[in-house]
């Protein structure tokens, strides 16, 4: 447990040390969403109609941006190999790194989401559900992404490859994340969608560290 905290804390600190670079994902998130009014026009009804989808798609892309670096630096300088030699299972290392990734990417996205919802004229009924859905969905994105990040270690064209591998796997989270917000906006119950998002998170939590650790072991062989 202490090693887990140690790795997570180190990764978070590293992200903060990059200064503005650590906030790159949120800036991308905001910028990508702000592009939409220019693309589809500033009509209030149109923007409100697509707000949930746009915010979720942008969140998906933003959380993918920093994933490529999740294991890359540690893989290149050999510290991943050292981590693999310690008695701590690699699954725990993966979980620690995913936690750090979520704290530095997912959490800022959730914080920025209400602001963007205001910019897109989303009805206020949707705000709470948007935040809850993002809070349930973004950890799954970090977990699934960790598998992709481990698989591409040592490959050519890592970043583009990563998006090709994991974006199709993000689709279920996207569908139910948007579905929850749209249901709230339409005045329906949102519990089923949130339950499904929670189930996705639990499934990802139990399967992804294991798959990512298997991929890491192959990369280190």
């Amino acid at each position: 447990m202490s090693r887990f905290l140690h790795i997570a804390r180190r990764d978070v600190r590293l992200a903060f040390r990059q200064g503005i670079g650590g906030l790159m994902a949120v800036m991308f998130f905001v910028l990508a969403v702000v592009l939409f009014p220019f693309g589809v026009g500033p009509e209030v009804n149109m923007l409100a109609r697509i707000s949930a989808g746009v915010i979720w798609v942008a969140a998906l892309l933003a959380s993918m941006l920093s994933l490529e670096q999740l294991f890359q630096a540690d893989f290149e300088d050999g510290s991943l190999e050292l981590l693999a030699l310690t008695p701590m299972p690699l699954e725990v290392v993966v979980l620690a790194k995913v936690t750090a990734h979520w704290l530095t990417t997912g959490l800022p996205l959730i914080a920025a989401a209400p602001l963007l919802a205001v910019l897109l004229h989303m009805n206020t009924e949707g705000f709470t559900v948007l935040i809850v859905a993002l809070a349930l969905g973004t950890p799954s994105l970090s977990l699934i992404g960790a598998v992709g990040a481990a698989l591409i270690l040592g490959s050519r064209r890592g970043g583009v490859l990563l998006s090709l591998l994991i974006l199709p796997l993000f689709i279920p989270v996207l569908i139910f994340g948007v579905g929850a917000v749209d249901a709230a906006l339409a005045g329906f119950t949102v519990r089923p969608q949130l339950f499904v998002l929670g189930a996705f998170f639990l499934a990802a939590l139990s399967l992804c560290p294991w798959a990512a650790a298997a991929a890491l072991r192959q990369a280190l062989e």
């Binding site: 490959s155 090709l164 399967l207």
Partner: protein
């Protein structure tokens, strides 16, 4: 070394014997399926003659899933038992599977145009096949992304299993999403009510596609094994 080559050698002999049978079966089953599908099967009372697209579309969609399942099964075999042929089988299946997925999409679109009036509808079935197409693309990109083919095969094996676990989740999500936005789909196929005169050509074509898959798979496996041998001989010459 012996263990590594013992299996492939036996496989080369076996596959050489099986390939002509697969080729013959594909030609005969395909000819029978085409004859029944194009000449004998009746036109649908609603869709008219366009229903004949079903005899290539539905088997292609079945094969797209079948190939992905085989790929995942071969990948699991490769990861768990380290069987040298399993890696190659998974890698050889991917291009065949992506061909079937592509055909399911194209023929679905050609069928949809007269039925729905547009080339593409975000129908649950078509959308799932589209996602499957992207899963295949990711797999093939990953296999070929490494300088060391063994590393590519192993990484891709993990990806195939992750994708396989996700296929039912994606299917469930897309079905749910589709039920929100579109009440019913025009094409209701594969139901138990399908008439035997349509079922026979459908099954024959599906069988023909299956034997075609094994035929091409064996040919590609043979080529993969020979490539491995060539690489081994070249390495020996360099070090030797």
């Amino acid at each position: 070394m012996i263990q590594r080559f013992a299996n492939p050698n036996r496989f080369m002999r076996l596959s050489a014997a099986v390939v002509p049978w697969m080729a013959g079966a594909t030609v005969i089953l395909g000819a029978a399926g085409l004859y029944l599908g194009l000449f004998q099967a009746p036109a649908d009372y609603q869709q008219g003659e366009s229903v004949r697209i079903m005899y290539v579309h539905v088997p292609a969609a079945w094969m797209a899933l079948f190939c992905y399942t085989s790929m995942a099964a071969a990948s699991a075999t490769a990861l768990i038992w380290k069987h040298p042929l399993a890696d190659l089988a998974a890698r050889s299946t991917a291009p065949i599977g992506i061909c079937f997925t592509f055909l399911a999409l194209i023929t679905g679109s050609l069928w949809g145009k007269p039925m729905w009036g547009t080339w593409w509808v975000w129908d649950a079935r078509l959308t799932s096949v589209l996602v499957l197409f992207f899963l295949y693309l990711g797999y093939m990109a990953l296999v070929n992304a490494f300088d060391d083919p063994a590393r590519g095969a192993k990484a891709a094996a993990v990806l195939a299993l992750v994708g396989f676990v996700n296929v039912p989740i994606i299917k469930f999500s897309v079905d749910w999403w589709n039920s929100l936005h579109q009440p019913a789909s025009v094409l209701k196929l594969g139901g138990p009510s399908i008439h035997p005169s349509m079922l026979a050509p459908l099954l024959l074509m599906a069988l023909a596609f299956t034997t075609y898959y094994f035929w091409v798979l064996l040919v590609r496996l043979r080529a993969e094994i020979l490539s491995t041998k060539i690489r081994a001989v070249r390495l020996r010459q360099v070090h030797g």
